[in-house]
Symmetry: D3
Subunit: 245 residues, 6 copies
């Protein structure tokens, strides 16, 4: 891989460079937390809603729950997809992603510190250009934080039950070159695709790597993880900035 | 009803005054037409997608088709609603609204003038504050026009197959006073609720009036239709302005 | 429209003439109310069933609920339709109609005057020839009245909680001529189709007008409403006669 | 069982006596065959519809197909049942019955003698008082015969492709007494319940016996089959009479 | 039928000979009862699971419930079938079979003698070669017995609530010859197919005979029942042997 | 982690030791490939079925397809789970696993080398004790190989289109100790759970690590990957042995 330097990414970015990332809070008015997260042309609305009860399996245990759902507007993509509500079922991909978002955010907050409440995270993609699930996780972190802030303002909880900030990013091997934060054009032509979720202390919450074409070796894996850890720290810095923390 | 003048609308508007209406074109980048329509705090993304085929029942007939779908983000509303894709079915209300949008827009365009193509309109509410279906119809008109413009630019059709512009507005009786363009607070407290779709020549496409509490008499119906026709003309003016027509 | 007199309706009826209407009470034996309603060749079985509980959202509020369902036998129509139970879902049209029936009948009765009970109205079309939803509403009124009479006989309620009788009729523009009570042949060739539900005092419960082909103007709308109000009064007279009121 | 003579059936009928059976042809107007069959208070509408195509697995084989569906109006029963179309699925009982009706009628007609057509039988119970499936089979026989007569009239087939008439009846053990044609009251209190379908030559198409409480011995089985064969011959006589054969 | 002796069954068995039958207890480790039943090449895993509650309609009545479910692995059959879980519904055949298994086993046990518990029987076919439902019933009897033995060992019940052993077998007419226990090759070429469930005292629980091609007469029915009663006694002997009773 | 040696695994195994693994070919008789795979007490039936067509999106492209489905018998687990076919939908977990199996096996075979055919892999868990998805992948490899051998024997393909063998194993952190091949008891008490799929040359196909409790650092990740690569090589040796390669 000594020649990696010659590979040009379609986006023109250097291998370790993120797309411009913006986090817009209070994007819609009803939700306790509402964030528009943009990773380049990928745009996801993340809302956090507090419900004053928990699912049946947690009733009476004195702890809270956090769950996530994910969807894409039918024409958020290059060609129109069928609407899942009209088809009457969510695809396997959708379920996989919303389970990932849920697990990632449950790792960020202490479920025992906000009473018998459920935090619902809804991540809806309005424009897709690669990396929707990592944008969703990164935006949902801020929306969830805002929702807990509101609970604290109301006096319902004493402090925000955050354990550590989490963020997510995709990495992949594009024409032999390990790169950070793939856009759609890069993603649909890469050999390996990995989504990494990590916390602010650099520890991993989720590592999901898939060889799309050629299997990847240990050295490549290590390069990808280096890039991911770098990118995640940048995103967590942005999350805290936008929350004035 | 001689005392109507004393009734104060929660919105502070006079009886015949619309909320501020904005139509933002090219709101997302993939769809042939993409409009964010805002009626006050009600915000709906309307996309128009061209598909190069028609449903089975029209195959080989040389004409096109136009169909619509409608959805609400789970937290577009005051309290979070269940996601229809997760429940596995669309509500009766959703189906009723998307059928209405489809009929209304089919009245605006000449299906025989754009070949064996389907125009899919997707109207997704990101923030709801009353009047989502009328905002959706009014915004979808512009999105559809843009999509047909793109078809014309590509040389696929000779001219935009518009018959006449259509727009929609709600009217209702709030505390005895017939008013135009109800917001959520007014809508949830009104006696009669009517949605009107009309064309630029003032003729009706749809009139759907429902007595929520007290049945309404003929005189009231006439006052409501006067208001609706007025409002629809204003919206059609806005549609044409934003299209520079 | 000065030449309207020359338009011959397929049914041979004058513009303002209803089809023969019959209401047969006690049509089946198990239901508290059971009416076969016939508008010409359109035949609908309307049953009213009392259930001694209310849906969850009304529990403990001391009031009742009224809800409706609608269906068509697969071969009630000219060509056989798929059975909705076999397909696993009700069509949008079915849901729209049953929501309309429910709203219309909830306007006829005082839900606060029959205790924590639910009245289920089932309207099943055994033969369709146009106007099934309006026949269903008109027949369900009688079936509901009979069911409440039975509740009163049992001593469960002190009086029948009727606010006012309601009935429904379709009107439309057939070859330029506004006509009352369209049969299938007229309905499938008309430009405008309107369903009107009104109470015995002539006030409107629902007005649902749709331009099938050409949009309709205000004058036409007024002519249609005149016809509808006339027809509804005739039907309400028949409802009361058959109940010996 | 020497004391059987002393057991009084709730219906007052002797053990071997059928309820009054009526078959009303042309009950509805659209279907090629349409029969209202009544076994006492049990009333079923049986329609036979001709479709000019066959299911995929028979395409191009030059033969026909016959299939059946069964349903109950929600308030055909003593207490209201949920509507299967609203629940989104047919019960196991419904599927079992419609499979039985289909098999029984496929035994009556020669599928190779009516071309690539499908005969759809729809059996819809409008009032239930026991024995709905046997009434359905017995009525569907006549509806199917009428539909094939219409095909012959149209010149589509040379002769009615009947192999032999079939009919069905229930038998059971009521308080130790084998009896014919159980009504609801008898059926819900019997130990053994058997549905028998047979042809005019006395041979069996289906024998379905179930011990509800106590298992039944061979002697009882024989008595039940004797009764069933007797009843089925009576019904086949009625079928032919009403068809003027 | 005097020449029956010359008909050779594909399996080479004489008319009254069962396939080799084995019952393997403790086939899997988690279930209270777990039996692999083999009728020749037909192999079914039957598990019996105790749940410490009853369905809603039995709550508080002090009695138990027993229910059954049936499934086939997609490639248990000659050609792969679609997976029912993936299709989102169980076929009519599956539901019919699991209802039959449930009724048959409820006849074997006294539901009033094991408290408010549910016994779930799961019968999953891993290899199919004809007679899966009769193998399932015969194996489920042993699995259920084992599960109740475990309940007794735990001291939850005083004795095993068995009323009588039940077993099931198929019989049919193969090329004119009544034969016992049809394998797939025989089953797919037979004229009449009958499944019989009986108890150890020779009484019938279920008799389900179907004429696949030619209707069958009373004499044939009697020969089939003779064979079935013979086979069932043999199976019940095997059940008791494997339970060391 | 210098004290890791003191942690005793519930299974008594050393950290790097697999459970006994067996692969039984020809486990059932109909499928082209059929393997019972056992990882200790985890038992999965893997069948490979050849279908002589491809899904719509590949028609006419001259290449094959490979897809997988996964299921668990209701009582394969400690407490009975609801049957997915009865519930009418597959869980998110099921879909996630079957997508993983499909991707993993598509990496093992060259889809362009077996014509327009589909290989269906069905992995059905009959007894679960942790690691069902990794056992399924490891067993499906052998079943798929057998199915392609059969295709080759038939002369349908010239050679077995294998690119490289793949196998899968789970690793995790149990009480601070990185361990290989977790059984249920270990799995339900571990902090980090990772499933790794790799090829015989040691390259990765899938790496899916999840922090159940505490996020994991880079050093731990490396230890887990070391263990996984070790275990996968052992399994691939077993796969080849049982295929006599």
């Amino acid at each position: 891989m000594s020649d990696q330097i010659q590979v040009a990414r379609p986006s023109g970015r250097a291998a370790h460079v993120l797309r411009p990332i913006t986090l817009t809070r209070q994007f819609t008015k009803h939700a306790e937390g509402s964030v528009l997260v943009e990773f380049g042309d990928t745009k996801v609305i993340c809302t956090a809603s507090i419900e004053e009860k928990v699912p049946g399996f947690l009733k009476g245990k004195g702890q809270g729950w956090l769950t996530a759902e994910y969807g894409m507007l039918p024409r958020s993509t290059h060609t129109r997809m069928d609407r899942e509500a009209a088809k009457g079922k969510q695809s396997g991909r959708t379920q996989e992603i919303q389970r990932l978002i849920g697990r990632s955010l449950r790792a960020a907050f202490d479920l025992e510190q906000f009473g018998e409440r459920t935090l619902h995270l809804d991540c809806d993609v309005i424009q897709a250009d690669g990396g929707t699930r990592t944008a969703a996780i990164s935006g949902a972190m801020v929306a969830a934080y805002d929702a807990f802030s509101k609970l604290k303002e109301r006096g319902s909880i004493a402090s925000i039950p955050v354990k550590h900030f989490v963020a997510a990013i995709s990495v992949g091997v594009y024409q032999g070159l390990p790169v950070l934060d793939l856009d759609y054009l890069e993603d649909s032509n890469c050999d390996t695709d990995m989504n990494v979720v990590a916390s602010e202390n650099g520890h991993f919450i989720e590592v999901q790597g898939t060889a799309e074409g050629v299997a990847f070796d240990r050295a490549t894996l290590n390069q990808l993880l280096d890039l991911a850890q770098l990118g995640i720290q940048e995103i967590i810095t942005l999350q805290k900035q936008c929350l004035s923390l």
